[in-house]
């Protein structure tokens, strides 16, 4: 069947139904794990935030870095997507638990960097070192680390692919890629986020972390870096899913990534990310007047920066919805036409999701207090939880039941 034939056969109504089902699954998961008034109440908010980011990272680690599907098909003869989906989802969930509680809380935090472990923070004593804040602060550090991971891992997937190990075997490819990604993640984390984490304690750990070098931004909070990373990530994902890998694909050689492709993709998406932060903060100035250093709620520069990231988080969610549930509509002959229209649809969709999140409906669905910029309200938690279920379906269940062979 031709690609065009596949597009014609896509059932958009089923796509919509699938999306509704995913929404209901997310609602159920929020009720069980996050809702502050129901079962597990993990949305404190940073603890739940960290767990969701680590879960999404586990999925990306398995699907984009370690290519677990290849390993799975070697190990399991069955082509059944449901079996595959269940097994890989359980593994991803287990990986999340291992990464958060064993690697960070139990190993790195116990034997090396104290702030990754709530127990180590409490054991160190001093002002504010008690279980609630210790868990929140450790979670902040962990979510920063995995944000850096998502940025670098997804960039690598789009910008470099299997380069420079494309001629090597599976094991060398995936493990080399894994370690190099972690190398760059550590650099990004140390430069963008570690200084902030050092200043979450009193007195500040100023021998371990410099004072924020980004004070020119109007804040010493690393929400500045978080906003920048997420805005850049939006362009990485847009170029991958909406633009079909272009324009970076023009720099490939024999269908594989190149050094030039990687460098151009990284810096171009970074520049686009910076421009996005600038434009979004200027738009916020229209509604909320200019932010100022020391301002809180919408007057705070730190809020403005994370809010650019939150808005891009909604855009990213819209991209995934368009790609997976509406067949990346429209699939016109002209690459320019289809990429531009898809981008406009994704941005419009993201704005609709924004309006939904800040509407009274979320008081019902998420137990959210109406209003904007509440310090303990982190829209990315819900957005990433939603995204994680979409990823589970597309990466682990191979799109089942929407996509059938």
């Amino acid at each position: 069947m031709t690609e065009e034939g596949e597009h014609l056969k896509f059932n958009y109504f089923f796509g919509l139904v699938n999306l509704v089902v995913v929404f209901l699954i997310v609602w159920f998961l929020w009720y069980v794990f996050m809702n502050p008034n129901t079962v597990m109440k993990l949305y404190t908010p940073m603890y739940g935030f960290a767990l969701v980011v680590v879960f999404v990272s586990s999925i990306i680690l398995m699907s984009k870095v370690l290519d677990v599907s290849i390993l799975y098909h070697r190990a399991v003869e069955s082509e059944n997507p449901v079996t595959k989906g269940i097994i890989l989802t359980i593994i991803a969930f287990g990986l999340m638990l291992i990464l958060n509680y064993i690697v960070f809380w139990g190993f790195l935090g116990k034997l090396g960097i104290a702030y990754f472990s709530p127990g180590s923070i409490v054991a160190a004593g001093g002002t504010g070192a008690e279980p609630l804040m210790a868990r929140e602060n450790a979670s902040i550090a962990i979510l920063y680390y995995f944000t850096a991971f998502l940025w670098i891992a997804l960039f690598w997937s789009v910008g470099l692919g299997r380069w420079p190990w494309q001629n090597s075997g599976y094991g060398i490819q995936v493990w080399s890629r894994f370690f190099v990604i972690i190398f760059f993640v550590n650099i990004v984390y140390v430069i963008l986020f570690h200084p902030h984490v050092c200043y979450l304690f009193y007195p500040a750990q100023d021998k371990a972390g410099v004072a924020a070098w980004w004070e020119f931004s109007g804040t010493t909070s690393a929400f500045f870096g978080l906003g920048l990373a997420l805005c850049s990530l939006f362009w990485i994902i847009a170029s991958d899913l909406l633009w079909e890998g272009y324009p970076w694909k023009n720099m490939e050689k024999d269908g594989e990534g190149t050094f030039l492709k990687g460098v151009v993709a990284f810096f171009a998406t970074l520049v686009l990310g910076i421009i996005t932060v600038y434009i979004l903060t200027r738009i916020m100035n229209v509604f909320w007047d200019e932010a100022f250093m020391g301002g809180q709620y919408t007057d705070g520069p730190d809020f403005r920066y994370i809010h650019t990231g939150e808005i891009c988080g909604f855009f990213i969610l819209a991209i995934f919805i368009l790609k997976h549930y509406f067949n990346n509509f429209p699939n016109l002959a002209s690459i320019w036409a289809r990429t531009v229209i898809r981008t406009v649809i994704a941005i419009a969709g993201g704005l609709l999701i924004y309006l939904f999140y800040y509407s009274p409906a979320t008081t019902f669905f998420l137990a959210k207090v109406p209003g904007v910029a509440q310090p303990d309200d982190k829209p990315l938690v819900w957005a990433l939880l939603f995204l994680s279920i979409i990823l589970v379906q597309s990466e682990f269940f191979d799109g089942w039941p929407l996509k059938r062979k």
């Binding site: 502050p36 008034n37 804040m133 020391g294 303990d376």
Partner: protein, 365 residues
């Protein structure tokens, strides 16, 4: 989301899509500024700023029942840790008359009875009808759940409260509510607050539109209430803030918790009040609430200095370490005394630096 905000969002989309800076408006057009009048002077008596006595116990209560976004009415708070926040405000008018009113009602009724009867003149002032009205800053438990201690002395008091209340809040005020919360360890329903004296006086529910759409409520010449509709932790929303315009000195804010942010309060005054001049502030400033730190707390110190506030009186949820660091950085923090040590209980984090105006202290502007 309100329709107006939706339309604004669509407008913003259009602006962004154009990708031209020229289409984004520059400065907002000059607002019509308000003249709120003047007072001669202001005196604040700190009745009680110790909403709770042990931070770790308070935090544990929050943590055990779901964190900062949990509904405060579902947490079986540890009763012996509860105190409360309340302030007696005395305004000297331009004519030289003294007028008194109060902000907030505290938390624990027994503690508030102790404060009113043994550690201040409030009980006798209420009896003499010398307190003109009350302002509830916001519906948080430590500012409101002690309301019975006041209402049993004067049920027909005039009250300004945020419009953004929840059903449990109004039930406590009007319906003789006895609220309980389930203790997950014992399985029992623990008492958390009650009021057997329904409010019968005038109730003014404040919202950001204010009276006559001015954005404020003028309670007397030189004194105004502004409601900031902000979402707050523990499923609460909205805070009333008091503004005073002291003749020849400038604007003073008085807050319960200052959740909107102290600089946002002064920014509002700067944009909206005629002949604005920053002078001082008093109250909880909600910064390093649990004596922890965050880089943005350093931002606030820098911001306070740039706003040129001349007299900063703080306590309660400000955080002792923030106040100390602010004082070290040159912020004009008004120091308190050791009077709080004469009270039957006081905060476990109170420090010898006296950077808080604590129980029994006074500050004048």
């Amino acid at each position: 989301m309100k329709r107006r905000t939706f339309l604004k969002s669509m407008a913003a989309t259009g602006v962004a899509a154009s990708m031209t800076g020229a289409m984004i408006p520059k400065e907002a057009a000059a607002r019509k500024k308000l003249d709120i009048g003047e007072i001669k002077g202001l005196k604040i008596d700190v009745l009680t700023e110790t909403s709770w006595f042990n931070n770790d116990v308070f935090k544990k209560n929050i943590m055990d029942y779901g964190g900062a976004n949990t509904n405060q009415y579902t947490i079986p708070w540890q009763w012996d840790n509860a105190g409360g926040y309340a302030v007696l405000i005395t305004v000297t008018t331009l004519e030289g008359n003294e007028r008194k009113f109060m902000m907030d009602f505290g938390w624990n009724n027994d503690w508030m009875d102790y404060i009113y009867e043994e550690k201040s003149e409030v009980a006798s002032l209420i009896e003499k009808d010398a307190i003109e009205f009350w302002v509830l800053s916001h519906w948080h438990l430590d500012h409101y759940w002690g309301v019975e201690s006041t209402l049993k002395r004067k049920q027909d008091l005039t009250l300004y409260a945020p419009k953004t209340y929840y059903p449990e809040d109004m039930a406590l005020l009007k319906d003789k509510a006895h609220h309980t919360a389930k203790n997950k360890e014992t399985g029992q329903m623990d008492h958390i607050c009650k009021n057997d004296y329904p409010h019968k006086g005038k109730l003014v529910l404040c919202d950001p539109k204010g009276e006559n759409k001015e954005g404020i409520y003028r309670v007397m010449p030189g004194v105004a209430i502004r409601n900031f509709d902000v979402p707050i932790l523990l499923r609460v929303r909205g805070e009333n803030v008091l503004y005073f315009n002291v003749k020849d000195k400038g604007i003073v804010t008085v807050t319960g918790c200052c959740h909107p942010g102290i600089l946002s309060l002064f920014s509002y005054a700067r944009k909206n009040f005629k002949d604005y001049k920053p002078y001082g502030c008093y109250g909880g400033l909600h910064i390093s609430l649990f004596e922890t730190w965050d880089p943005k707390f350093d931002d606030i110190i820098k911001g306070v200095k740039s706003f040129k506030i001349q007299k900063l009186g703080c306590n309660h949820c400000t955080g002792w370490i923030w106040a100390e660091k602010a004082a070290e950085s040159g912020v004009p923090v008004v120091k308190g005394t050791d009077k709080y040590k004469s009270y039957k209980k006081y905060s476990t984090v109170a420090k010898t630096s006296n950077v808080f105006l604590t129980n029994g202290d006074t500050v004048t502007f």
